[in-house]
Each structure stands twice: as C-alpha cells, then as structure tokens.
C-alpha cells in the first residue's frame, strides 16, 4: 500500500492547526508546551515527507536538529514553569502579565 505524500501533508496541517488552536486558547503553561511540541512535530512531518518525495537527505537531517533543540527547549521551559509554580502556586500564563502597557 502506497500512501500518497499529500496525505502526510494534510495530517501535518491538521496537527499544526490543533497546536495553534491550543496555543491560543489554553492558559496552563504545561498545555501550551504540549501544543508547541505538536507544532514542532507537524513541521518535522512535512520535512520528512518532502525529504522522501524529493529524495533529499537534508530534510531528514534537519528533523534531528529540530528534535534536539526541542528537547533542550523543553528542559529549560519546564525549569521555568517549575520555578514559576513554586513562587505563585499556579501555572496560568494569564497571571504573568507584568509587562503590559
């Protein structure tokens, strides 16, 4: 069975849309994190798809970079979330609005 490349792209677009929707509507920092992961993985999926259909290894290599950076970003991000939680007993990002004009 040969799945066409466009299916993969549609799946990636759906994942991306879910991620954006979650990012815009959710208030918990943890949920937002998960949404960001969704966004990144949607991008990864398009990279892999194109790498396969264009027979270019560059796309796949980029995915590894994205994964490494994402892992690092999660580490730092969760660290910040934990610190914020300790100080405020909440991870709601709406409470972090000291920089408003």
């Amino acid at each position: 069975m040969n799945v066409p490349a466009s299916w993969y792209l549609v799946l990636a677009a759906v994942l991306f849309a879910i991620g954006v929707f979650g990012l815009l509507t959710r208030r918990s920092a943890l949920t937002i994190f998960m949404c960001i992961e969704l966004l990144l993985n949607a991008i990864n999926l398009t990279f892999v798809t194109f790498a396969h259909s264009l027979s270019d290894i560059g796309g796949q290599a980029t995915v590894f970079f994205v994964m490494v950076v994402a892992a690092a970003e999660v580490t730092v991000g969760l660290g910040i979330v934990v610190t914020v939680f300790r100080r405020r007993n909440s991870t709601s990002v709406d409470e972090l609005h000291e920089l408003q004009g």
Binding site: L23, I32, H97, L99, Q100
Partner: protein, 623 residues
C-alpha cells in the same frame, strides 16, 4: 656640557620620583636628605656648567634632548639653551632652593604631610629649571605651568583651612589669566616669525612690524603680570602667603614670581622693536611698585608686609625692563632673591619661635631671644632698605639710574617708592625685634626659642650673600661683571645720554637719602607704639579696595549669572525641554499602550494573524 645641563635639570626630577615612590615607612630624615641633596647636586651641576660656559665661544649651547612636536611647519624639540642668562638664573634658583630645602627639613618637622611637601618642592625646582633652560617658548610654557601648579598645591598645602584653599584657587585663576597672554604672544610670534625658538626669534625679531611687536609685547606683559604679580593681577600674591613660610620664601619671593621678569628679559629682542610697549611695561612696573609699597605700610601680618614688598620689588624689576635696563632687572632679581629669601626665612624663624604667631602687634622685643635670626634679619632689612654697601643699594641704584636716564617722572615715583620701602621695612623691623615684649600670650609665658642650626645656617649664608651681592655689578666696573656677562643675550635698546660721574654720584646720594628718610620716619613713629590708625589707613590695609573692585565688577555679575542659570535656566529651560519630551511621548502613546496586554496568547494570536496575512499575500502573488 650636554651631560652637565641634562643632570642639572634631571636631578630634582629624580628627587621627586624618589619621594614619590617612598612609602610611609620612609623616615622624615631620609626624605629630607634625598630631596635636599638632589637640589644641592643640581646647584653643583649649575656651577660646573657656568665654568664650562665661560670657556666657550660664543657662550651659547643648545642641548637637544629629543624631538617633541612636529606638525606642519611647527617643529618643537625638547632642548635646553645654556647661555649667560639661563645659567645665571639656574645658579641662583638652584642655590637658594638648596638652602630652602635644608631649612624646610627642620621647619616642616613633624608635619603630617612632610613627604608631600618635599614632593611638590622638588617638582617645583624641576619645573623652574625647565622654564629657564628651555630653548623655545613651548617648553618654557611647560615649565611655566609646572611652577604654577606646584605653587597652587603649595599655597593650599593646609587645604583643610578654608582660607588656604581659596587662596590657592585665587592664585591659580589669576595665573590662568596671565597664561592667556603668554599663549597669545606665542600664537602671534609663530604667525609672523614661523618659529618659537629663542635663537630664531632673536634672529628674526627685527622683521616684526611695529603693530605686531606692540601686540606681542602687551600679551607678554599680561603673561608676566599674572606670574609676577603686577597690576592688574597682583593681588593673588599676598593671599599666597597661606602656604608654609619656606614656600613663600622660595616660590613667592625668590624664584617663581620672577619668572615673568625673566620671560620679558628673554624676549628682549622683541621688546626692542616696540618703544611704546616698553613704555607701558615701565608704567605698569612703576605703578605696581608704588601701590604695593603703600599697601605694605599698613599691613599687620609679618608675611603680608613681605608679600607686598615682593610685589613692589618685582615692580622695580619690571620698571627696569621697561626702560631697557635688562641686566639691571636681572641684577635686582638676584639680589632680591638673596635678601627676600633671607627676610622670609627670618620671619619663618620668628613665627616658629612664637608658635605660629604672625601678627606684628603680638611681637616686639625679640632682639635678645633670637641670637642668629636677629642679626641676619637686620642685614636683610638694611639691604632691602637700600643702605650701602649692601646688595640692595647697588641693585636698586642700577635700576633707578637707568630709569632716570630714560624717564624723569618714573624715576621720581621710583624714589618715592624707595622711601616707602625703607619706611615699611623699618616698621616691620621695629615692631618685630624692638620695643615692648608683646608675645607672652602666644608663647604662653615662655621665652621664645632660637631655631635649630639647619634653619639658622641658611639665614647666615643668605645674609653673607646679601652683603656681598652688590659685587656682581658695581657701577664703576665694566669688565667681568654681570652686565657684560649678560649683554650678548639681551636685546639692544638705545641708551639715553651718558650720565656724567657727578650725576651718578648725585643719584647714589639721592637713593641713600631716600633710604635714610624712610628709616628715620619709621623709627620716630613706631618706636613707642604698635598700632595707629593714622598711619595704617584701612584703605591701604584693604589693598586699595582692589579685591572689592574685582568682586564688584567680575565676581558678583558672574555669581548672579550663575545663580540665574541655576535658578531659572536649569530647571525651566533644560529640565523643561527634557521632561517635556518625555511627557509628550507618554501622552501621545496612551492609546497604543493598551495593545501591550501582557497576555501571551494575545501576542501569539497577533503573530498567527500576521503570518496568515503574509502567507495569503505570497500565495496570491504566485497565482
């Protein structure tokens, strides 16, 4: 010669560096010893250079140290010009400096800032030597500023005293005004002669136009007036007496304040070109001599009397320069250095013995308590009063004879000043050493004590020099004297009609009579009183209201301008502009600021929408 002259200049600098590096652990003794011997070594080098110079022909050597400035057609090298004028200056500057360093080791004993004192003093001697030995105006200016800043430091040496701090500032500011004159003179000379080298200026001076020469001379006079305390910039010098007494003796009597006269003499080839300029110089000198002498008659502080006396004597030197009697000016400068250093150190010894009392009204009867200070001070007093055969009679006589030759009116004022000189010095002498003992309060009932030998030895040496100083240039010698030694370096001035020996004798007698009149007047008035408002007019005591006039014309207007700036311009104009900008910006963005809600999702939404718009645009363009 090269090595001698270089060592001559560098020895005090080496002393300065040593004292600078010496930590607090270094004892007073070793600091005093090194500082004094550095200057003494310098003196030995000066003597050696003098004898080497005597054997040379022509008597002028330039010692090139290094190229300093080279820009366009301006080339200035750090070079020393060793010629009769500079070596004469070096000899008495280093000699007297060495004596005063020796004196200071005892006078400053146990002072908190003993080390700092010698630091400045050595740096001063170095700067002074640079000033007199430089072969161009720029390097002279370096020394000129060097002695100025050392003077400032030393005047405000006791800077925790309000009066000393402000006296230092006053000296500094008055000197800056004078420096402006010197700078203008340098600019003019470079513009017209394209050189600042003394040898070059001497060679080309004749090509100056009369107007330029007049301007240069007036600018130089302003410079000299600042440094040498002449009208209209003379009133910083009396305030400078706030410094320690050895400083008053060295810097504010014997050496630095004569730098202005030295500069004028050094530039004498230019002075030669402008008779009008010289007349102005002579008038300024005469006026200063007279005004300062009248002020000195009414001062109650022993050092203030000597300070105004210094101003007056420098006035005599400037007068001599004005009539073209350059060597007479130098002669008076040297003998003045001897006797005024002697008088200042003597007064220092008196002050020392009275635990710091400087008021003449609280002295008197010190004659029998100070067996060394008294006779040496006596000699200093007779010398400055112009009693033969001491140095003062011959040097002042040389000046007055030359003035008589050129301008009878100035001569008359000069004689009047000589009477006043003898009068105020005799008043000082009588009030200090004779009459009732009025010092018991200052000494807490004890007898005053004579100073240690390191303080009296310089007094004795200077007294001997004051007695013998006249031998440098007796009126009837014409070979091997100061005049013939100096004349190759000096500008030429047409002499007046040659004076017959009868006239010369007559002038000498008039000088002598002037001294005697002043002396007798002072003795008859002050023998049995120590203050009298009839003879000490407050107008004179307050320096002809000169300070008040400056305060009224310059000080107060400037203060009110500053006050206005501080009260109105600063808060209203400057702060108003700055705050106005800030307020305007803040008001104009009040609406836009709402956009910054602080909610992450608002920003994310904005980003997403913007991104969507961009994508739509790109896609639309492709189709």
């Amino acid at each position: 010669m090269n090595i001698l002259a270089t060592l001559l200049v560098l020895a005090p600098l080496a002393g300065f560096v040593f004292v600078l590096m010496a930590g607090r652990s270094q004892s007073e003794k070793s600091i005093g010893l090194v500082a004094t011997s550095a200057v003494a070594f310098s003196f030995v080098m000066a003597v050696a250079s003098f004898f080497v110079l005597l054997g040379e022909h022509p008597r002028s050597t330039t010692v090139n140290l290094f190229n300093w400035i080279s820009a366009g057609n301006l080339h200035v090298s750090a070079a020393l010009l060793v010629d009769p004028l500079s070596i004469t200056m070096c000899l008495f500057v280093t000699g007297i400096s060495a004596l005063i360093h020796l004196y200071s080791t005892a006078y400053m004993h146990k002072e908190k800032d003993y080390r700092k004192f010698f630091l400045y003093l050595n740096l001063f001697v170095f700067s002074m030597l640079v000033l007199v030995l430089a072969n161009n105006l720029v390097l002279t200016f370096v020394g000129w500023e060097g002695v100025g800043v050392c003077s400032y430091w030393l005047v405000s040496f006791y800077f925790d005293r309000e009066s000393a701090a402000s006296a230092g500032k006053k000296a500094f500011i008055f000197n800056r005004v004078g420096d402006l004159g010197l700078l203008i003179a340098m600019f003019l000379l470079f513009q017209h002669l394209h050189t600042l080298n003394y040898v070059g200026i001497t060679a080309k001076a004749a090509s100056l136009s009369p107007t330029t020469a007049l301007l240069v001379v007036l600018a130089l006079l302003l410079g000299a007036a600042g440094k040498s305390a002449q009208i209209p910039l003379f009133n910083w010098l009396p305030d400078a007496m706030e410094g320690p007494t050895p400083v008053s003796a060295l810097i504010h009597a014997a050496t630095m304040v004569t730098a202005g006269v030295f500069l004028l003499v050094r530039m004498s080839p230019v002075l030669t070109m402008s008779a009008d300029g010289r007349l102005v110089i002579a008038i300024i000198g005469t006026a200063t001599a007279f005004v300062a002498a009248t002020i000195a008659t009414a001062q109650k502080d022993i050092k203030k009397v000597l300070a105004f006396s210094t101003v007056s004597q420098i006035g005599f030197m400037v007068m001599a320069v004005g009539v073209g009697a350059y060597s007479a000016a130098i002669f008076l400068m040297i003998s003045h250095a001897f006797f005024k250093a002697l008088l200042f150190l003597g007064s220092g010894s008196v002050i020392h013995s009275l635990n710091g009392e400087q008021d003449l009204r609280k002295m008197g009867g010190l004659q029998k308590f100070l067996p060394y200070t008294f006779p040496t001070f006596l000699i200093g007093w007779l010398t400055i009063s112009g009693i033969p055969p001491f140095a003062g009679f011959w040097s002042k006589g040389a000046v007055l004879t030359n003035v008589y030759d050129h301008n009878k009116i100035l001569w008359l004022v000069g004689i009047l000043t000589a009477v006043l000189t003898a009068y105020y010095m005799s008043r000082l002498f009588v009030l200090t050493f004779r009459g009732n003992e009025r010092f018991r309060e200052a000494t807490e009932g004890h007898d005053p004590h004579e100073s240690p030998w390191v303080m009296t030895a310089p007094l004795i040496i200077l007294a001997v020099l004051s007695v013998l100083g006249g031998l440098l240039d007796l009126p009837w010698t014409h070979h091997g004297d100061l005049t013939s030694f100096l004349s190759p370096t000096l500008g030429y001035v047409p002499a007046g009609a040659p004076l017959s020996s009868t006239v010369q004798w007559g002038l000498g007698l008039v000088d002598f009579a002037a001294a005697i009149i002043g002396l007798l007047a002072a003795f008859s008035i002050w023998r049995d009183r120590y203050e009298d408002a009839r003879f000490e007019k407050s107008f004179l005591e307050r320096v002809w209201r000169w300070d008040d006039a400056y305060d009224l014309t310059i000080g107060r207007p400037l203060t009110s301008v500053a006050q206005f700036s501080g009260d109105v311009i600063e808060p209203k104009v400057i702060d108003g502009a700055v705050n106005g900008v800030a307020v305007t910006v803040a008001r104009s963005v009040e609406g836009i600021a709402k956009v910054q809600s602080g909610y992450v999702r608002h920003y994310a939404l904005a980003m997403s929408l913007a991104l969507s718009v961009i994508i739509v645009y790109l896609v639309a363009r492709v189709w």
